[in-house]
Amino acid sequence: MAKTIETVEAALSGPTPGQVLRGRIFGHRGLMFGGVVLAAICIVALLAPVLAPHDPYSQNLLARMQPPVWFDKGTWDHPLGTDHLGRDYLSRLIYGARISLLIGGVAALISGLIGTLMGVAAGYFGGKVDTVVTFIINVRLAMPVVLVALAVVAVFGGSLQVVILVLGLLLWDRFAVVMRSSTQQLRSMEYVNAARAIGCSTSRIVFSEIMPNIVNSLIVVVTLEMAHAILLEAALSFLGLGVQPPTPSWGLMVAEGKKMLLFEPWLIAIPGVALFVLVLVINLLGDGLRDVSAPENRN
């Protein structure tokens, strides 16, 4: 009798939550692919000085736009050819990974801080704070991002810092919206009420009760905004108002190769594909994380 009950219970109890999560992560192809490729890009970026065959800044005006190795005139000395100033394209691509990741990462960090702060404040305090924050979000959404970013960069001059700052200051809206609604939901939860009832300070409730519970959706938004920032930087650079040369940013490389699109399409294809892959894997990672953290809300 006791044995049968055990069997029944064994049949009922599934794998542990940890096992489930691990299973979901490793079973999710998009997530795995995104994670692995992104990790690879990060490693390449970190090891740039070791991996790059040439100095990404050293120019040779008499060896400009040499084609990659798979073209008839290509050589192994410059596996991906050289750019419009005769700089090694592969080396610039490798160093460019640092820039793109930096732009995406720091811009997402800044906007994440601003957005989360505003969203949590609005969601937690409600009332007038919420009204004000919602208004600010509305104002922000109504501002045409590309246009304002262009104008600001034009005013302050393009540089890595300015571009990162502008993107960081413009892309916080999604953070604010998501964090606001997540916090609103949590605030009415019993354990938050309980914490308040036993007299926990606001900051303690926010940091130990609210934050740990919104971190999942936060990470998903971080990936989305990272991808967004990288694409937007590329667009700004394409329009001539992004980071400044000789910085080897992929967006800038596309912009520099743009002029020769018809004649040397590989110049734009190489950084374009790199950009596409980077944004793709970040998105896959974000989608995957969302699936894994809340499988019932897929998409």
């Binding site: 009798m1 009950i5 029944v8 049949a11 009922l12 599934g14």
Partner: protein, 342 residues
Amino acid sequence: MDNILSVRDLRVDIPLAGGTLHAVRGLNFDLARGETLCIVGESGSGKSLTSLAIMGLLPKMAQRRADKLEFSGIDLSSAKNRQMRSLRGDRISMIFQEPMTSLNPAYTIGDQLTEALLLHRKVGRKAAEARAIELLEKVGITAAASRLEQYPHQLSGGLRQRVMIAMALMAEPDLIIADEPTTALDVTIQAQILRLLVDLQREMNMAMILITHDLGVVARVADKVAIMYAGEVIESGSSKDVFTAPQHPYTRGLLRCIPVPGKTKPGEHLGSIPGIVPSLIGKTQGCAFRGRCDVAIDACAHDIPERASVEGHLYRCVHDNSQTQFSASGEINTTSQSEGRL
């Protein structure tokens, strides 16, 4: 009496990652015009799936098999989608348990009421609306004509369920399936709605399958009763037989949970059945109730024979309970556990 619905060995399987969930396992029953069959069981016992299986509205992943699934001479198990569609809402209709969400928020009551009639009958909008008003009045809704222009969110839960009932009756179906039509409503309204439903069923001489866990209701309205447990009918028969001479330990446990006016003393604990329903994934053998049953023996883990106490009163138990009558107290635990409570 001709059976309008005949079901033999109805099975519903749901393939899941961990194995196949046998949600409904070998259901049999017959239903004639004018009769009411009550299917009783805990949540997850497969009663809602049974009703959806008859309607042909099972979720996509669920697989339905039956030796016989015949409605009014039509073999439902082999019927094409088109044929099923022409039956649904016309000759078979259904009332769902969630009046709050079962009405489309985007359309007026009038639109939704007349839809079935307009789909199945060659009637004009005017005529359909007239019929809608007539039925709304019949289900006790005042100012019926003005309700047609209203949207679901403008109605209370009770009113919405009345609308749902009216909607099911629009085409004067032969069979009406009501899946816990009162669960979501206030207790005071529950009784009214049920009363209404039963009156209408009798008035229109329809067959009705009423899915409920309110045994009090069952006792009042059912002609036939089927008790489901873990996807199986563990006891079935005429209402009178089942209520007066429950055979299966589970049925007996259930009956003990009903307060009986005059018999149950104030403050007295109502019966409850401790334990939980076992998983139905994979191959199951033996009595599913044995884990909670006080009279379980080793033989319960093997195939259980179907027994009949009297003609048409069937149950599945290793014990031939018709011989050993249980006393009304003692064997079945009466502590108040919530798990198995209905």
